[in-house]
Amino acid sequence: MYSFEPTEEQQMLIDAIGKYASNDLRTAAHEAEENHELSMKLVNKGWELGLLQASVPESYGGFGEHNAVTGVLALEEMAFGDLAGTLAVMTPSLFATPILLAGSEEQKQTYLPKIVESNWSPYTAALIEYSFDFDPNALKTMASANDNYFILNGEKAFVPFAKDAEAILVYADLDGKTQGFIIPKGTEGLTISDEREKLMSLNALPLYRLKLDSVKVSAANRLGGASGHDFELILASMRLANAATAIGVAKAAFEYSKNYAKEREAFGVKIAQKQAIAFMLAEMRTEIEAMRLLTWEAAWKLDTGKSDAFTEAYLASTGAADMAMMVTDRAVQILGGHGYIRDHPVEMWMRNGRGFATFTGLAIM
């Protein structure tokens, strides 16, 4: 059957996240972006909402099951507050979720309870590489196999909280396939840049470059253990997270510009009463709905193991990235000159908006 209603449990989670997004993330977003700093108290408050914890089974210290639909619902809601804040709150998932989805039993036992039973702690992952044609399925960071260890060489970019990370899940190409490798803090050959990344947005999120110079990784630390893992499910989960956060940011921009248009007067009427503005808003709302439903369906397909789930996650991420650019651009346009001024958040959302074509790997659900 078709159904478009979240369960009661999902609704409770969405409501709790919605409060946090509006009352905490949103109110802090402007200053965080301007000052390049996130309050860790704020991040921890978001962590305590238990989004990751709820996707980890009790046997590993959590209290639920991984569910992609719940994940996309929650991430949209949180990103509605602030994207950088959301990515910060969810950074430990970048490390924990792939282990949950594809890790060996030993890896699950070692890391999951430690991460989900404590406060927010810096575990992260490195997928993105600094090249114009970055392709998660054709990485330039290379892993080569030896008897009982691997050697990694290459560079990674946009790695959240790398500086403080207890361990980093680094993705590298092993014989033409993308594989994850767990690299603990202080491993020889791993260099983390002193300078943070300087991007068009996400100023509040500490992102770093990594260099891997003949980094030795034991076979036990290959994600999934000696025989490795399938990357497709992990990538699809990243793409869905990308789509969900894109929808959240787009919704933020849509709501803000809609409310502005209902207040702002020109020629004796509210500008929302002009079709030029009203039609833009109608199209923004329609596009958001279109990509939300595509994302939900892709998530549902992932949960139910449908054969085209991975393709649909790709379509959802691609479509949502385009949609977010369109919607956030129009939000700035609706505010006119005021939209271009940083006192209003729409220009930041527009800078976020362009990012979703590039952000796959910064979040996972």
Partner: protein, 419 residues
């Protein structure tokens, strides 16, 4: 029920069965009826009528779920979902021939939306008969298109005979000829005529009247020659002193200050817009599948999963079209699911039509472009689908009218606040 996208069995069955109908009964005749405008596809009509009877339905119209004296809560709660799937599948076969599907169509939908139980029995039971029957909706006039509150057709009650006397002109009546004119192979249909019972009352005076096929004073003035969907007859109808029984009025015969009569028409649109959207999606799917087939024949693979920077222009286009098509279909499904579950769906209904009205033409236009001479040639159907699809952004509310409806919904504005 949690969020779920598993198509219900009847939907899957409808899709499966009608795919065959589309490919076996419709496609082979698509070109013929495109080039022989106003010829009636009798074989198809009779086949569909027989087939629908065999499956226990008299019509694809949702009316079949309502007119058998069943209690409302007992009726299938997926009626509109099945209908949307059927329409999408038939439009995938051929959009013009889909309009020649016998049954109540928009005429019956109006009776269903605004009629009393007696009226539903009186006007809708006929579709169970031996012969195929059509019914049509007459709302547009030469001076009233999207602004259908400007309707001038007048209905006056003759108190001596207790009959309504209707005068006016109607255009763009889909299936008007088959619904009204007498054909040996068809049973008697009807047209639903929108008219005002009080021109000073504006929308409050607007009512719909059921006018039986063959009623004196009604004349089919002409059948339009169109860009596409040429198999579908589009009639211009004149009404001169047309007399119909008092009880053929849908809704209250007295003028109130409220606009319930007009809202009756709009409620019909909330139910039918996603269905029209579904028809646009069917055409677009036909075009996209044809394109992918031709590309595969020529050794062009679509490499899903690559970053945009590594895709060819054709791959990007195909991927974008798939995103458009899939998401537009999901919007239809959500809108009809809401209708089935009796949730107000004015916003979702219009959004689905906006989206489908956008992507149908966009996809078919792009398919013709990518196929080059093959796309432009009448040897294949791509150019026909391009012409057919354009109507889906026009009828049942143009894209612009639907944007207006969406905008009013999201802004909380009335018609006077956002004109």
């Amino acid at each position: 029920m949690p969020i779920e996208f598993e198509a219900p069995k009847p939907v899957v069955q409808a899709q499966f069965m009608l795919k065959t109908v589309g490919e076996e009964m419709m496609r082979p005749k698509s070109r013929y009826f495109d080039e022989h405008e106003h010829e009636i596809p009798w074989d198809y009509i009779e086949f569909m009528h027989t087939a629908m009877k065999a499956f226990g339905g008299s019509s694809l119209a949702p009316s079949e779920n309502f007119n058998k004296g069943e209690e409302k809560d007992k009726r299938s709660s997926i009626g509109y979902q099945v209908l949307a799937a059927q329409i999408e599948a038939l439009a995938y076969g051929d959009l013009g021939m889909y309009h020649c599907l016998p049954g109540g169509g928009l005429g019956a939908a109006a009776v269903h939306a605004a009629g009393s139980p007696e009226q539903k029995a009186k006007f809708l039971d006929r579709f169970n008969g031996d012969k195929p029957i059509f019914a049509a909706m007459c709302i547009t006039e030469p001076g009233a298109g999207s602004d259908n509150s400007a309707i001038r057709t007048r209905a006056v009650l003759d108190e001596k005979t207790n009959e309504w006397v209707i005068n006016g002109e109607k255009i763009f009546v889909t299936g008007g000829d088959k619904s009204f004119s007498e054909y040996e192979k068809l049973g008697r249909g009807f047209i639903v005529v929108w008219a005002t019972i009080d021109p000073t009352a504006g929308r409050g005076g607007m009512r719909a009247f059921v006018v039986e096929g063959g009623t004196p004073g009604v004349r089919i003035v002409k059948l339009e020659h169109k860009l596409g969907i040429r198999c579908s007859d589009t009639a211009a109808i004149s009404l001169v002193d047309v007399r119909v029984p008092f009880e053929n009025i849908l809704g209250s015969p007295t003028v109130e200050k409220s606009t319930t009569g007009f809202k009756g028409a709009m409620a019909t649109f909330d139910a039918t817009r996603p269905l029209v959207a579904a028809s646009g999606i069917g055409v677009a799917r036909a075009a996209l599948e044809f394109l992918k087939e031709k590309l595969a024949e020529n050794g062009v693979q679509i490499r899903y999963g690559l970053p945009r920077q590594k895709l060819t222009s054709i791959e990007r286009d195909v991927i974008d079209m798939e995103i458009m098509l899939k998401s537009a279909w999901l919007m239809v499904i959500k809108a009809v699911w809401m209708a089935d579950n009796k949730k107000p769906n004015a916003l979702e209904s219009s959004m689905s039509k906006v989206r489908a009205g956008d992507v149908g033409p966009k996809i078919t236009q792009k398919v013709v472009e990518i196929l080059g001479p093959l796309g432009y040639s009448r040897e294949f159907l791509a150019e026909k689908w391009f012409r057919d699809a354009k109507i889906t952004d026009i009828y049942e509310g143009t894209g612009q009218i639907n944007r207006l409806v969406v905008a009013r919904q999201i802004l909380g504005y009335s018609g006077s606040e956002l004109r």
